[in-house]
């Protein structure tokens, strides 16, 4: 009997309505899950629209939701027309080359790249690639180093002052140094990466390294004494001890660090792009600001919202990953 009831409950909970639930309480739950956030959003949009009308700037009125909507449509249209122009350019080039080869079989066709202005969506792509690359570099350095520091108390003592010193440094302070070092060190005729990409990348990596490093070290050094005793009784080798006990037990901490790092990486990147005029969303914002047309503020506002949205999505992805790999289901994963 109980098993039947349980399966019934299971089926109906998939359908979203529990058998003993009234429609009213189901409605309440849906309101909590969807209704309240939507209500919050609506109130926000209203206040924004009303407030925006009150603010006048030298570039015209502060953009409200409607202007932002118009500008995002415009940005999308610009992107599409730019793409069309690009394909047209390549088609024309191909055609011309084909004609010249037909006339003169010895002619080696030259392929020129399209050099149009990057659109808003191109900038989003650039920023995403840069932030992920910078974050990956940071993680690749921070996790192994954190493990070493966590395992070795003397190493921790030796490196701790350095970590504490560099952790609070703002990206803007690193940027000139990184720029100069990249210019000096990266001299090739046929660069695989643009210098601007590398400066953004290293600035991001330098700034977002620290939370992962510190959290990994703490997680590794805080393996419970009981588990260490288990490892000792089993006489696990050092390697097995690290792989089977230390690493899994610090996975939740490592991921907490990684999430913090990714958040910082995204913020740092936008600032670095603005300051260094490196391609990306930061440059888009800066260009629009310099441009100073009546549309600029609306376009900047679109960028602000997109930056927020991407930051949010990146965090959600990390959270999903964290939930997947973390054994500690009680850890606060929000």
């Amino acid at each position: 009997m109980t098993s039947i009831r349980m399966t019934l409950a299971g089926v109906s909970s998939i359908a979203g309505v529990k058998s003993n639930d009234t429609l009213g309480s189901w409605f309440k739950r849906m309101l909590g899950a969807l209704g309240l956030p939507l209500l919050g959003l609506a109130v926000f949009l209203f206040i924004w629209q009303a407030g925006a009308k009150q603010i006048d700037t030298s570039l015209g009125q502060f953009p409200g939701p409607t202007q932002v909507y118009e500008q995002s449509v415009a940005l999308y249209a610009e992107h599409m027309s730019e793409r069309e122009r690009e394909t047209a350019f390549y088609e024309r080039q191909e055609q011309r080359n084909a004609e010249r080869v037909a006339k003169d079989p010895n002619y080696v066709p030259k392929i020129r790249d399209y050099t149009g202005k990057p659109t808003f969506f191109d900038q989003i792509g650039t920023s995403l690639v840069t932030v992920l690359a910078g974050f990956a570099i940071a993680a690749l350095i921070a996790i192994p180093l954190g493990i070493c520091i966590g395992l070795n108390a003397s190493l921790y003592a030796a490196l701790n002052p350095i970590i504490q010193l560099f952790k609070p440094v703002s990206p803007l302070a690193w940027l000139p140094l990184v720029t100069m070092v990249v210019s000096a060190a990266y001299v090739t005729d046929d660069p695989m990466f643009a210098k601007s990409f590398l400066t953004s990348l290293f600035t991001v990596a330098l700034c977002c390294l620290w939370p992962t490093l510190i959290n990994t070290a703490v997680g590794v050094s805080a393996v419970s004494q009981d588990l260490q005793n288990v490892s000792k009784v089993l006489r696990l080798s050092w390697m097995t001890h690290v792989v089977k006990i230390v690493l899994p037990s610090s996975v939740p901490m490592i991921f907490t660090g990684l999430r913090l790092s990714l958040g910082i990486a995204w913020m740092v990147l936008i600032a670095a792009e603005m300051l260094a005029q490196n391609p990306g969303l930061g440059k888009f914002v800066w260009d629009e600001f310099q441009n100073g047309s009546s549309d600029s503020l609306g376009r900047i506002m679109v960028a602000v919202l997109v930056i927020g949205l991407i930051g949010f999505l990146l965090d959600r992805i990390m959270l999903l990953l964290q939930r997947r790999v973390s054994w500690d289901k009680n850890a606060i994963t929000r």
Binding site: N229, V233, K244
Partner: protein, 289 residues
């Protein structure tokens, strides 16, 4: 003749900020193969310390432990430990927890299939077959403790060391696990040292009860041989004059001869809450008797 396991003149001093603290002084104990010995004594007297020294997790300051003619000076799987708080790896299932131990101990000695059968056999001994692919946070406290015992048994240890294995469990579950343990012990006939706070548990399970004096500088106070026939049945024994005599002996040692004068919380403020509850359990039973 030397015994299977011998503790000779074991003393230990812990360095503390206020100078060194002598927890154990001249502990002597000889244990025969296949013997089941309980350690009982007031909280903080040094029972865990004795066990940890035998396990090799602590080093005695003077004296030493000899197992089968070899001195013990580091931990090893031939002295398996069942920890008070189960100490399972939370990210592994029950099966994988036992597997970690089996792989380590029988590396190169058993084939993969043999290992699998051995792991399953040990989980079956503790009646955990139905939940062997669950993780520790998905099973109850009693089940976790059983997996801990299975893990220890699977190492085929010479000595099984158990630190209050059932301390954190409710009375019913505890009785159940005690019965399981007696059953397993009947078949395997391991050498066991078990720490307990529970007088009934000690009398029911043990061949000998080692009663420890209060610390600091605790030592073996009295040793009580329990000559009750096996298999033992808790219900029949409840009415048994011999059994009640043994209980009386232990209780009078604990509550008359080794009366606890100082505050329990002074020793280990962290564990105080847990210890207090366990401390009252035997007292209640005494009142009933």
């Amino acid at each position: 003749m030397t015994k299977h396991l011998e503790l000779t003149g074991v003393s230990i001093e812990f360095p503390t900020p206020k100078g060194s603290f002598k927890a154990l002084d001249n502990v002597n104990l000889k244990i025969a193969r296949g013997e089941f010995v309980s350690l009982i004594g007031h909280s903080g007297c040094g029972k865990s310390t004795v066990l940890n020294i035998v396990a090799g997790l602590y080093q005695s300051t003077t004296g030493g432990v000899v197992l089968d003619g070899k001195e013990v000076n580091e931990p090893g799987p031939e002295r398996a430990v069942v920890f008070q708080n189960h100490s399972l790896l939370p990210w592994l299932t029950a099966y994988e927890n036992v597997e970690l131990a089996v792989k380590q101990v029988f590396k190169g000695k058993k084939s993969k299939a043999e290992m699998k059968a051995w792991i399953e056999h040990n989980l079956e001994l503790v009646h955990m077959t139905h939940a062997m692919h669950k993780r520790p946070d998905e099973i109850s406290g009693g089940m976790k403790q059983r997996v801990g015992i299975a893990r220890a048994l699977a190492m085929e240890p010479k000595v099984l060391l158990m630190d209050e294995p059932f301390g954190a469990l409710d009375a019913l579950t505890r009785a159940h696990l005690q019965d399981s343990l007696m059953e397993i012990q009947k078949d395997l006939n391991n050498t066991v040292i078990m720490i307990t706070h529970d007088v009934d548990e000690a009398v029911l399970l043990s061949d000998r009860i080692v009663m420890m004096t209060n610390g600091p500088a605790a030592t073996v106070g009295e040793i009580l041989d329990i000559e009750l026939e096996r298999p033992r049945n808790r219900i029949q024994l409840a009415d048994d004059a011999q059994y009640n005599h043994y209980r009386h002996e232990v209780l009078s040692f604990l509550y008359e001869k080794q009366r606890k004068v100082e505050d329990i919380g002074q020793h280990r403020s962290q564990k105080a809450a847990a210890d207090n509850t366990q401390e009252t359990a035997p007292a209640k039973k005494q009142a009933q008797a």
